[in-house]
Point group: C2
Amino acid sequence: MRIIGIDPGLNITGYGVVELSSGGVKILEAGTVEPKRTDPFEARLFKIHHHITGILEAQKPDLVVLEKLYAHYKHPATAAVLGHARGVICLCAAQQKIKLVEHSVKRVRKALTGNGNATKIQIQDFVKRVLNIKSPGFRLDASDALALALGQAHMLRYKLT
Amino acid sequence: MRIIGIDPGLNITGYGVVELSSGGVKILEAGTVEPKRTDPFEARLFKIHHHITGILEAQKPDLVVLEKLYAHYKHPATAAVLGHARGVICLCAAQQKIKLVEHSVKRVRKALTGNGNATKIQIQDFVKRVLNIKSPGFRLDASDALALALGQAHMLRYKLT
């Protein structure tokens, strides 16, 4: 089973694709889409849609995993802006007929480390270790997306065993 | 010049197309996209994208007008959900290479009636009168979208005269 985690943002959208098989989990691809910050936001949404659609067409994942929407955003306007990018990602999944699942950060952290309150850095270290990522320049944005994909893979494995 | 106003929403997205010429302003089309409320939201976004793209392709407007994003949403989660639909509308405009403009409600109301604090009902009556809409069943959602298009038309006329 192939799983893509996506961490949407108008400035940086991270994604990570993993494959879950009887042999374990391996990383297939991870990266970011970073539209020019000087571009109007509709042009940035266009770039995100175009790039993520390309990844979905190439990797053909069985599942798209997103972080659940929360009501705890400090600034409603920030939440609305984030919603723009997230809406476009949801559209990409629907257009490619790929099932979308959403998990809370806590649930993902718990599935990965057994601790729902693990820090971002602990999760990043865990993801790098499990997926055998050596690059020190590994971007945090792609790491959050990979954590989503890996968390989903762990949930599925756990149910299977 | 052809102008479409769009009032995005996951449940109801209203749109109204007007044409501004030397003879005045006339309504070409107005309506709503109402995805099934029981559908998952990605399916609703798909329907909104599909429908609005169809309208843009058919009507070929020169401008897409949206209401400006505000920071005064009561619930950040509501703002995020609205952002999903709005992001998809912005994407439609970018994909069709149509210029996007945003106006505050106050500015639109002022352009239409001279009073930025006019009520929704006053605006609706004004829009119906100017565009010669007789239908009593005229939907408020399409009316908000038409008000945006008509407000933009008034701003352009005002600058032209």
